[in-house]
Symmetry: C2
Subunit: 211 residues, 2 copies
Amino acid sequence: MPTQNKPSLPVIKRLPKYYRYLGEMEKEGVTKVSSSELARVMGTTASQVRQDFNCFGGFGQQGIGYNVKLLHEELGKLIFARHPVPTILIGAGNLGHAMANYFRQDTQGFELLAAFDVKPEMIGLTLCGVAIRDMAELESYCAEHKPKVAVICVPREAAKQVAQKLIDLGIRAFWNFSHYDFSIEYPDIIVENVHLGDSLATLSYEVNNNL
Amino acid sequence: MPTQNKPSLPVIKRLPKYYRYLGEMEKEGVTKVSSSELARVMGTTASQVRQDFNCFGGFGQQGIGYNVKLLHEELGKLIFARHPVPTILIGAGNLGHAMANYFRQDTQGFELLAAFDVKPEMIGLTLCGVAIRDMAELESYCAEHKPKVAVICVPREAAKQVAQKLIDLGIRAFWNFSHYDFSIEYPDIIVENVHLGDSLATLSYEVNNNL
DNA sequence: TAGATTGTTAATCGATTAACAATC
DNA sequence: TAGATTGTTAATCGATTAACAATC
């Protein structure tokens, strides 16, 4: 069993992409793949591919390459929990709707239990099969259902307060679409940020300076 | 005038965040800020803040700090074009809807001109004030209106073909929500990727291994 | 066995952090 | 002037790439 360096964040961020390509290959009936073939589709080097996998204990066979099915399975085990992680959505506006829909098609690893909003006219409606509840119910709901992950789709003004509340209620992991930065005030919390505004601004910079 | 090292990608990705915080400070009436104060809110070091700004030619005053209004303005000029960049949306499904809405509130730098879809039942409808057109019209539309940026909200199966078409029609910059990787086949194209599936999978990894 | 390709160590590269002279 | 804080160079750190021995 080879060395297992704790994987760094860049390595972890590449895992889903490997997983995706391996899934495609498996579907196409490809049974084995070399680090250099994987590197080409990933847009990286064979060296990096091997380094990456060796963080988790080397799934390959010297002289042969990697077994596509096995590697895909192993990465799947690393990435996804055995049971779907109970998840709630905070903020049922436009973005919240899109994300709820996203969960419906691509639920692997997560199960959306409920949505919450403050707007009275939304409460009681359903969103992709889950009820939209009053934020006032959040505490009792969490006490009963113990969600582990929250998707934050509230405007920035509300985000700080919502975050504080959820953390107090025991939620430790967030898929965060708001512009509030959890990481600075709560370093122990798991947060995956999707900052659409920053992404668009980055594109604007590139267009402005390189087109 | 100080040295202007060409900014690296990590620097560029931090610009919108600086811009955001400086905007907030300006609104609050703060007139000056030091690199260490900025570092604290950004979650980084004073050294990095100064290095970052010096890529663009040092906006500060030794012994004093940075003028909030001026720095905010200068970053704005770097990030956003003088005139909004004409933009089209490809794919008017759930995600497309959310993104069109996003453009309505946060248009700074971009102007959404039109949306395109293949589904006959969607064509002719409007989406946040822009018409949804038939993909068949894409070529003539681009010839007439010369959009510069396309937002890609189509499923992965369609993405490769759509990308090829848009690149042939002269579009050079993409805000890409599909799982197709432009960068490998078209290295000269400007692409800002938002891979929601990968982001969610990364969160799943973290939850699975650190919670 | 010879060829291929991994696992792993070493070298390089780039980004971040530290230090300090310049100067307001 | 003294204190503060930048701009910039130097040191460190970490990630990527190269090299090569191990081995299928």
